[in-house]
């Protein structure tokens, strides 16, 4: 045994020092010396085994195999030797590479012997393929899964991964998630019991409805990686700002990224809205509760929109305040669309600022809708938006009513006429 392990070590050394030629030479001589000795030993071992009846014939066989390996190695080395002798005059690098090339197969065999399991001689418990096995064993046989190592879609993994299948049952849109970079592999790495379940339980504790989980995770899968303590901190912060627990729950379910921002950032945002718009605390809370996205989005477009309202559209500070509290979406609206619709309202429809501030919902409607309706009313000579004059049409009703109600109540005509009129624009 000691002999064999010595042999193995030697071979390992041999493999390690293949780079230097002299070392290779030394190895050759060592192996050559060893072979007769191991043979002798084998004989003595054989005798030993037989007398003590310790080993089966299989161990002997494996011994023989090993010996074959060694002798093989020796032979190969010898041939390499011969080749080397031929090329000694040249002594170029190419000859060395040639030698290493010829050595390659033998080193492969050696790597097998290196393996501890192979050195362990009792490794022969393989049963034949025809042998019957009981159910218990059948279960314990691990079938190599047919999972592809790489894939462009989570589809291949859904059946095998517990996390993914549970997420599908929750209503998460995996099809959308897999299009985002790195999200797919992140989800696969998660463990359902230790990573996903505690966070879902946490969300449930703060009052998020079950039906919202799918939406939240579809939009923000990273909430599953967030530290639970951090999540708890953020929720307690929001509650300390006097948001009721129902509000927090609805905010989290409408703005999935809310809990991924640290407390400092949230505090910053709340302070910004309160100061910039000079709102009271309760109004700020109301604003953020109505559009929780405000705490997540970048502040630059919001600042820009406020400047647009103030300078380009010429609203007064208190008017802006009123508009924003009534329609928070003005803050995140597209700047170009905002100016386009205001331009139409103010310059074409001749609606003064105070009326627009009174019905801020008009800034949130579609430009085409306002345009069509105004032109239709104008065509019918009913476009009269001044509340002090008779036949007044309120802006709010004009934009918010559906087509049928608009035609019958405000325009006093039929929907067909309205649609026909649209084809003349």
């Amino acid at each position: 045994m000691a002999m064999a392990s010595a042999c193995g070590q030697l071979c390992m050394r041999c493999r390690g020092s293949l780079s230097s030629k002299t070392a290779v030479w030394r190895c050759y001589s060592h192996v050559r010396h060893l072979i007769p000795r191991t043979r002798q030993l084998l004989k003595s071992f054989d005798g030993l085994f037989i007398t003590k009846r310790l080993a089966s014939t299989q161990t002997g066989l494996s011994w023989k195999q090993q010996m074959c390996c060694y002798s093989d190695l020796a032979e190969k080395h010898l041939t390499a030797d011969a080749k080397d002798n031929k090329h000694t005059k040249e002594l170029t690098k190419t000859s060395i590479t040639q030698i290493t090339n010829t050595l390659m197969p033998s080193t492969d065999v050696l790597s097998m012997t290196e393996h501890p399991a192979f050195l362990d001689l009792d490794d022969a418990a393989e049963s034949s393929a025809l042998e019957e096995i009981c159910d218990e064993e059948a279960i314990s046989i691990s079938v190599p899964s047919s999972l592809p190592p790489t894939s462009t879609s989570l589809r291949d993994y859904v059946e095998k991964s517990e996390t993914l299948s549970k997420l599908v049952e929750l209503g998460v849109n995996l099809w959308k998630l897999e299009q985002r970079p790195n999200v797919g592999s992140m989800l696969l790495r998660l463990d359902f019991k230790t990573d996903v379940a505690p966070r879902l339980m946490f969300l449930k504790e703060i009052g998020v409805k079950d039906s919202c989980f799918g939406y939240i995770i579809t939009h923000n899968p990273f909430v599953l990686c967030e530290n639970i303590e951090n999540l708890q901190d953020r929720v307690t912060y929001l509650k300390s700002r006097k948001f009721s627990s129902e509000t927090v729950a609805s905010m989290v379910s409408r703005a999935p990224y809310l809990l991924n921002f640290n407390v400092k950032r949230l505090d910053n945002r709340l302070g910004f809205y309160q100061q910039q718009l000079q709102l009271s605390a309760s109004n700020t809370r109301n604003l953020v509760a109505r559009l929780p996205k405000l705490l997540c989005v970048s502040l630059e477009p919001v600042k820009e929109n406020l400047k647009v309202c103030e300078i380009e559209l010429g609203f007064k500070q208190n008017e802006i305040q009123h508009i924003v509290v009534a329609v928070p979406k003005v803050l995140t609206a597209n700047k170009r669309k905002l100016t386009q619709i205001f331009d139409f309202l103010h310059n074409t429809m001749k609606v003064p600022h105070y009326l627009i501030a009174k019905f801020p919902q008009v800034l949130n409607t579609k430009y085409l809708r306002v345009r069509e309706r105004h032109l239709f009313l104008e065509y019918l000579q009913k476009a009269q938006y001044d509340p002090t004059l008779p036949n007044y049409i309120s802006l709010d009703r004009m934009v918010s009513l559906p087509d049928e109600a608009f035609c019958t109540e405000l325009a006093l005509s039929t929907v067909e006429d309205f649609y026909l009129f649209q084809k003349t624009l």
Partner: protein, 331 residues
């Protein structure tokens, strides 16, 4: 699942053909096309089919709880999650929607769209040299850089001297010049019998690409400074039409801009059949496609009948010309 998928497919398959929408002002045609495509996809979503079940062997602890048979195998049908709609995504993610002769953002009107195999028909339609009708709302008194009323003003002028008579004279002149262009672009030798026969049938015209040609020009409304022109043309762009208005203004010793370009007809499609913005749903589109197919069919049978009748009249060789004229009217 297979059944619904097949049904769905048939629903989409029925959706091959041409229809037209009314493009509103200020919207890019690409946006119109994309809206229609998303609406069609949304309208054709089948109710989520039942998941196919897949038999899997699950390890189950035996109900009796005996130590000897702690685990037994049971074959259980498990829904195959890899076919779940949340995993696979929608079945159809694109529908081929083709756009006919374009309309730029500053103009409105009939825009022909094709779905599915209708794209081929759309190609064929434009190979048959169809004319298009436009209404141009124009105004005298200024000239702008991009010939529309919103552009940068280059020049202002008076327009008091312009009368309807003068305007019509200019229009007639323009029409004449374009008539000549029709003959020029037709690629037929003018002194040949072929040219004569084509001209008699009214089929003389450009093949494929050519410079824009106005085949008809008429003033429908004249009240200086504003006036409205009705134009029939071939191979035009909206910018070219605005330029024509500008040139008419110059010809009248004044200047003119085009306030609005509105297409009222594109080939067979008129604004009467066009779907307005609120009708761009899948159901309405489907109905429009079928309607168009139906009218085309009836038209074909009518044409066949008229051809038969014209063939009958042609037998009397004496009035070949009149029969041709009759056919011209028929088509």
């Amino acid at each position: 699942m297979a059944m619904t998928a097949v049904k769905d497919f048939h629903k989409l398959r029925r959706l091959h053909g041409l229809f037209c929408v009314y493009k509103p002002l200020g919207v890019h045609w690409k946006l119109v096309r994309d809206t229609i495509e998303t609406n069609l996809l949304k309208g054709n979503v089948a109710p989520p089919p039942a998941l196919p079940h897949k038999v899997r062997f699950l390890a189950e602890p035996s109900p009796t709880g005996e130590a000897g048979a702690a685990a037994s195998l049971s074959a259980a049908p498990v829904p195959a999650l890899s076919h779940h709609p949340l995993v696979t995504g929608p079945e159809f993610q694109h529908i081929r929607v083709g756009v006919g002769h374009r309309l730029d953002a500053a103009s409105s009107g009939v825009l022909v769209l094709a779905v599915g195999n209708g794209n081929k028909a759309l190609d064929d339609l434009y190979k048959t040299r169809v004319t298009r009708d436009y209404m141009l709302e124009c105004e005298f008194g200024m000239a702008t850089k991009d010939f529309s009323h919103t552009g940068r003003v280059v020049e202002k002028s008076t327009y008091g001297h312009i009368t309807l008579d003068k305007l019509e004279r200019v229009l007639a002149m323009l029409e004449g010049a374009n008539q000549k262009a029709t003959r020029m672009f037709s690629n037929v030798d003018m002194s040949s019998q072929e040219a004569y026969e084509l001209a008699v049938q009214g089929l003389l015209g450009p093949d494929g690409k050519s410079a824009p040609i106005l085949t008809g020009l008429r003033c429908v409304h004249f009240q200086p400074p504003s006036f409205t022109l009705e134009v029939q043309c071939l191979n035009e762009t909206q910018k070219y039409l605005r330029k024509v208005v500008h040139e008419i203004g110059l010809e009248l010793r004044s200047t003119a801009v085009c306030k609005n370009v509105r297409r009222t007809r594109d080939g067979l499609f008129t604004s009467r059949q066009a779907l307005t913005r609120n009708q761009w749903s899948a159901a309405d589109v489907m109905q429009a496609v079928q309607q168009h197919r139906y009218t085309k069919k009836t038209e074909k049978t009518v044409r066949k009948r008229s051809e038969e009748s014209s063939a009958a009249t042609r037998q009397s060789k004496a009035d070949v010309m009149s029969s041709h004229r009759g056919k011209e009217h028929g088509s």
